[in-house]
């Protein structure tokens, strides 16, 4: 089946079709996660009818995979109305939620609407750690209960576990929790900077040693051999390839109608309150600029031996200052994965030679549980 998905993606790329869109319905949230990159004030979200009109436009444009996220999607009073409309337009609907507001009734409604999958964020198997991150007492218990309700209705649920300093020790526990609930767990060791440019959140990122440990531990990755093997050097196929699907077969729409290549690539490319989605998708100068970038155009990366296996996020690179430049967080991940320093990491490190950083992880997790 994954072969068919790859085939469809290749076809979408050739036809210039936006196969996948993430639509954030709101930035409001009932939690206040310490690592969140959003401004939770409502600055004038799209109305129900604006969203329905957008869904019509997305369907006409050929969008198939519709991910609804935020903020917390269940904070919208019209949430189920929107999902129902999306299902009527035959989208494959995926949800991202903290699930705190999902009880039996909501789970049943979601089952009746045949949403394809629901991704729920769990930061730790320990309530004191999870709740300290979400800043909502009782949130872990409610999220876990929601997972049980959803699973009992036969829905496809995955757990997303974002790693940061505070919960670093707990990913084995989350994995065990996932196994107990019969739910797949994906680990993400990336903290994204705030959308407004504030990079202080990155201080929460786990350090290099921890990163290496996460990558190398057996069972964490689907194919350890493939991901941790020394990569192939830059060659023509890799250099002519595309960094990722953002702007090519996927894009993002904010609650205010802003179109970005990706939620993690906040380059303002148009607004659906002003222009038609398809006009933006096809003609936006910003999206066309993103489309013109191949691996060959990347400063540093085009000469880096990690290039064929690197998970470089162009959005993180954009937020770092240059969409053709390095994404240092991905350089660090590649280093953790392969043991080979990237071109960009080498030039960076040579400029800060002599600085020694020591992380005392144990002390931090003690402080959290205190």
């Amino acid at each position: 089946m994954s072969h068919l998905v790859a085939e469809m993606s290749a076809k979408a790329l050739k036809l210039g079709i936006p196969l996948s869109v993430q639509l954030d319905l709101t930035y409001r949230c009932n939690e206040r996660c310490v690592h969140c990159y959003l401004d939770h004030e409502d600055h004038g979200e799209m109305t129900t009818s604006e969203i329905k009109d957008l869904l019509d436009q997305l369907a006409e444009a050929g969008v198939f995979f519709l991910t609804l996220s935020g903020g917390e999607i269940l904070m919208r009073r019209d949430f189920f109305e929107i999902v129902e409309y999306a299902r009527m337009r035959a989208f494959c609907v995926k949800l991202k939620t903290n699930a705190v507001l999902i009880r039996e009734k909501e789970a049943k409604r979601l089952r009746d609407l045949d949403v394809e999958s629901i991704q729920i964020s769990i930061y730790s198997h320990r309530p004191e750690v999870h709740d300290a991150i979400t800043k909502m007492p009782g949130s872990l218990r409610r999220s876990i209960n929601a997972i049980r309700f959803l699973r009992s209705k036969g829905l496809h649920v995955t757990i997303a576990n974002v790693l940061m300093l505070q919960n670093l020790q707990d990913y084995p526990g989350v994995r065990a929790l996932g196994a107990e609930l019969g739910v797949e767990v994906t680990i993400d060791p990336t903290i994204t900077p705030k959308m407004d440019g504030d990079r202080s959140l990155l201080d929460l990122n786990i350090d290099q040693a921890a990163l290496e440990h996460v990558f190398r531990e057996e069972g964490m990755l689907e194919n350890v051999g493939e991901s941790c093997a020394p990569p192939v050097g830059p060659d023509d196929e890799v250099l002519n390839s595309l960094p990722c699907s953002a702007g090519h077969t996927a894009c993002y729409v904010s609650p205010y109608g802003d179109v970005y290549p990706c939620v993690q690539f906040p380059l303002p490319s148009g607004n659906v309150r002003r222009d038609k989605f398809l006009d933006i998708w096809r003609h936006s100068p910003q999206l066309n600029e993103v489309r013109s970038i191949t691996t060959r155009d990347l400063t540093g990366c085009s000469h880096c031996s990690n290039v064929s296996s690197c998970t470089r996020c162009p959005g993180l690179a954009y937020m770092e200052g240059n969409m053709r430049g390095p994404s240092t967080q991905d350089c660090e991940k590649s280093f953790a994965r392969t043991g080979i320093q990237s071109v960009n990491l080498k030039s960076k490190r040579s400029s800060v030679a002599g600085l020694v950083q020591i992380q005392n992880v144990a002390a931090i997790s003690q402080a959290v549980s205190a």
């Binding site: 089946m1 068919l4 998905v5 469809m8 076809k11 979408a12 036809l15 079709i17 196969l19 369907a59 006409e60 050929g62 969008v63 198939f64 129902e84 299902r87 009527m88 337009r89 035959a90 989208f91 494959c92 609907v93 045949d114 949403v115 394809e116 999958s117 036969g154 496809h156």
Partner: protein
Amino acid sequence: MSEKCYVARSSKIAARMMGDEMMIMLAPESTLFTLNEVASVIFKAADGATPLDEIVAERVCSEFDVEFEAALKDAEHMVKELAGHGVLIVSDKPTTQSRAFAQVAR
């Protein structure tokens, strides 16, 4: 099939045309299907109220250069397979869906 055969799209599916192919995702198992041009035409016409032989005669044979008998046989085969997966619902009576689900865009 001697009796009339009515086909309706399941409400559990997600579907979208891409070029001349139809992509279909079946919700519970997240299985992906693709239908070729002819199959897509039949799928789009599967409203539960039109008998299959009528769909084949009016939509398939009129658009594509195929013989009715052969086309109907192929259509029955395709319908049986998709019904087995739960993508289509087959009945000997017209079915009306309670919600206008799976309204395929184009």
